[in-house]
Subunit: 276 residues, 2 copies
Amino acid sequence: MEFKNEKEFLKAYNPNDFERLSMTTDLLILSVSSKDTDNYRKTDKKSMSILLAKRDNYPYKDKWSLPGGFMNPKKETLEDCAKRVLRDETKLDDIYLEQLYTFDSINRDPRMRVVSTAFIALVDKNRIKKELEENTSWFDIVEYKEWNNNVKITLNNGNETIVLKLRKELKDKTTTRYNYISIENKSLSFDHDIVILTGLERLRNKILYTDIIFNMMPKYFTLSELQQVYEVILNKKLLDPAFRRMISNKVIKTERMKTGEGHRPSSLFRYNNENK
Amino acid sequence: MEFKNEKEFLKAYNPNDFERLSMTTDLLILSVSSKDTDNYRKTDKKSMSILLAKRDNYPYKDKWSLPGGFMNPKKETLEDCAKRVLRDETKLDDIYLEQLYTFDSINRDPRMRVVSTAFIALVDKNRIKKELEENTSWFDIVEYKEWNNNVKITLNNGNETIVLKLRKELKDKTTTRYNYISIENKSLSFDHDIVILTGLERLRNKILYTDIIFNMMPKYFTLSELQQVYEVILNKKLLDPAFRRMISNKVIKTERMKTGEGHRPSSLFRYNNENK
DNA sequence: TGAATAGTGTCTGTGAGACAATATTAT
DNA sequence: ATAATATTGTCTCACAGACACTATTCA
């Protein structure tokens, strides 16, 4: 069939002639939490935390999952959709959001073909004043172990423990891209274990060459606090002087001090967003 | 409505209850081309090239576009679909392929809502023996200029010239992520100017910390050739000694020489894929 | 022989890793 | 006074930028 022009073509065009599908977004909402230590002098122990929601519907009813939802193709972009989910979960609007990856293995959803674009959101947990939604909970990464190309991630929300085991397979010799294979995952829905690992690795890379970390920090923070967040993300200790040199251009010292910690007080800093 | 278990739920589930859409993949197929100089002694001038296809259907009939196609939701993943397109275009199967980004602004396709996941493919052009498909052509990047946050890209295939102008708007202060806004684009379909810019910037970043560039090289190459490819991607000159130090672990010297160039011959090298 | 590229030597400054020393608070 | 963290000083080594020099081919 031939058409005279684009207008004619579009008039005759019927979208339902083609096979179609649904899209969702999944949100990896990351923050950092502190756990008090018994010794009043010791600093709190920090860990990464992930916001999970318990599914109240099939499929995967009563399992934990990343917050997410179907995109409305008429009205929403994927990012709009992600923002909507984020607003529902956190009541906040100005949260760092980044497209992570589009996951689309054919049977990832038992209902039908669903392609999901995952987003990373970084929050300062303390900004979330109100109670979380029902069936929603922060899980701390209490263990993150990597050996050869195996990864074990243990999550805990105070009540429940979720253990994820994955294997990384190098995709090609010229980069460090991996296929992630789920080895053990009893508690998380869909392919969300893979989304989590993909996101954590992205974050770990990005804090080395961006200021992305400040999206997870409060306005005022001590350098030790900042260093701890770096350490928790990178999953390794950093040397103090090297760390301070590294961030010296990214932060501005303020007059404020943090006192009452049982040891020498520290200056409070804030992000210098005019750096480079 | 309540269900006893997941099996019951799935039985009653009708995918058509929800709004659905179509997905496509677009391929940014990149390679490097050489243009002879008049002086037999001078080395060839290299430039990046992009494979474009002239659309023979509405919408955007007779305009150039990135090769791409609709994904079959029943049978294909997005990557399968991209591989299929790539095979159609190049007759090759073992080509570097990487998911770039998912583009989904609501009106990017005049027919209906179409979400497209773009892929980057890197090829050594010389491997493509046969003639290209009809209406398909390599366009060289004959000009790439960036000032403030404006970018001008000029493409040429020997016959036609395509000029793209875009503006970059910083998305947030903590990273260097941009929104790309199309300023001038008379010849390319859809949002493909934005896909191209996104891909070129990704490539430029990635050659700094991966070996991805060797996907565009033939098996044997001289260091000058390799350096020229780096320079063309980075869009700047590199110093010889620094360059040679930088790649010294990535390549292995062979016995072969490249002679007959009107000047001192050079050793041929190959990629060392066991490096790190 | 000369034009052109191939390839190496080396100086210098910057910056990361490592370790040590000093400073200051709350109990 | 002491335990704990805060903060700074400094040595060393590796390495990137810069420039200059030598080597080798072929029309």
